[in-house]
Amino acid sequence: MSDTILRVEHLSVDYKIKAGWLSAVNDVSFSIDRGKVLALVGESGCGKSTVAHTIMRLSIDHNERIGGNIFFEDRDLTKISEAEMEKVRGKHIGMIFQNPLDSLNPVYRSGTQVAEALRLDGMSKREARERVIQLYRDVQIPNPEERIEAFPHELSGGMRQRVMIAMMLARHPQLLIADEPTTALDVTVEAQVLNIMKEMCDKENASVLLITHNFGIVAEIADRIGIMYAGELVEEGEVHEIFRNPVHPYSQALLAALPKIKKSEGTIRTIEGTVPRILEKKPECRFANRCPYADETCRCSSPEAKFIEDGHMVRCHKR
């Protein structure tokens, strides 16, 4: 069995809008090893959630065009039928979203919803109940016997997100996609939920694709980090390496814009300008209009992804 669980190759997603095709994701390639955490980071609109949704095939309608391949354990997810994909979702790849209240059905008891996943695998009602209680205990929900009877609105935000984690882990997926899992939570709760998620994944040796804009969380739990800008993966590498030595001008600017200091110690850097909407794929670097180092080359040809050292990818003409 190979060590790579997910390999995304040259993924591109375009959405059809009135004015033409909007390029949401362009030529994104990365892979995740078993038991490892890859964090995709970037600002809103950079395409990080689109990547996640495309892997899960959650956004298929006639408004988009998908290119490239997604290999999950050597199977190309872009080639399989919808019925087969149905089996992959939940069973092999689990997903949690930012707002657990959107993911839970308000009219069913939380435990019933977790049990539903187990019943799909042919577990009996009684067995499923026992297993749900055990899962609630694993994600540290107090009084699990009572809490499985609770409706989503009767649970706090952190508790709901733990229910989602329990639901996702119920079927032992090998890959977990977490899209901003703690953004809606308070810091003390966030720390708790992150710990639980990390512990559970270590126990199951599951890999995680973590989508976030919070560098603190990335520094805390990710093994590798990919930085996205305007639909492209501009830099990808080992987390310590990227934090210590960001190479792409955008990664550098983004890390320097984090408020880590006091105002008496200096001013944080800002990135002037705004993210472009890419309507037409042109040969240019997408960061060129904001980049302090941009020159003619950057404005008339797209940089290719290249490896500056083993496992450290960057997409920039200047490096």
Binding site: E43, S44, P142, S156, G157, G158, M159, D186, V187, T188, V189, E190, A191, Q192, L194, H213, N214, F215, G216, I217, V218, A219, E220, A222, V239, H240, F243, R244, A253, L254, L255, A257, L258, P259, K260, I261, K262, K263, T267, I268, R269, T270, I271, T274
Partner: protein, 320 residues
Amino acid sequence: MEPIIKIEGLNKQFSSSKGLFSRKKTYVNAVQDFSLDIYEGEILGLIGESGSGKTTLARVLLGLTRSTGGSLKIGGAQMVGAGKAEIKKARENFAVVFQDPASNLNPRQTVESSIIRPLIIRGMSKEKAREKAKQALSSVQLDESYLESYPHQLSGGQQQRIAIARALVMEPKVMILDEPTSALDISVQAQILNLLLKLQKEYNLTYVIITHDLNVIRYVSDRIAVMYMGRLVEYGTIDDVLEHPLHPYTDILIHSVPVSDPDNRGGEKRKFPGEPGDVPEDPAACRLAKRCPHVTERCLKETPPLKEVTPGHFAECFLV
């Protein structure tokens, strides 16, 4: 120096009926026994988690909701029990910027009419108000052409700049900023924070910044007040509070924030037992007693007093 805002023993209690027809009422203390002085020209960071009462406190300061007890003096004038006219007058010193820039602005009005409306209500002529709007826009680093835009044509960062410009035209002394950057991206957040700092210096404004983001607070404020379950549990300068936290809750809060440095991964962590909302039933007990790692018998029976531990550094805990 006389504080610009003097809060003493302020309370805000909300009541709700226990059921549609029940006469029995339950009370929630959103802000309880809150005392704090805010001085002119300082930036005070108000930090706490959801439900800690920080926004309720801001609403009381703004006169948007009335306190149920205690004393609130603005520029020396007592607000608790004051008449409508007095509150209105005091309110002229205040401006507010909310979290979500889109809901801050009227979607059907151009930026210009959003900005000049309060000026016209105050009796300024239209020409003069327009002139002021232009000035305000340039002080938030946007050019005049934005006056004709509608909010939906602007990015989140631009909308937040407009909201700040609209607050500035009123020439307030105090600006209340309720989560001013939490809806924004990192690079835009940096722009807005730097802009706010620049404006504060230029106009000698007083800021009360409400946020749950410790990094933002550290960057902008001079002093920090930490709230937990409606109570002020600790306040002092940023160095005092962030480097030498006294209250167990502050300590837990600081050590819960993920550090943006993978080399310090898994650094000192604090366990925070229990669930949000676990408070002792006895209203006299310390609010943290059920979740505090250092709880004693005494904490379950009485509320600790706010104690000045070192000059200017206060904490509400028996242990200090």
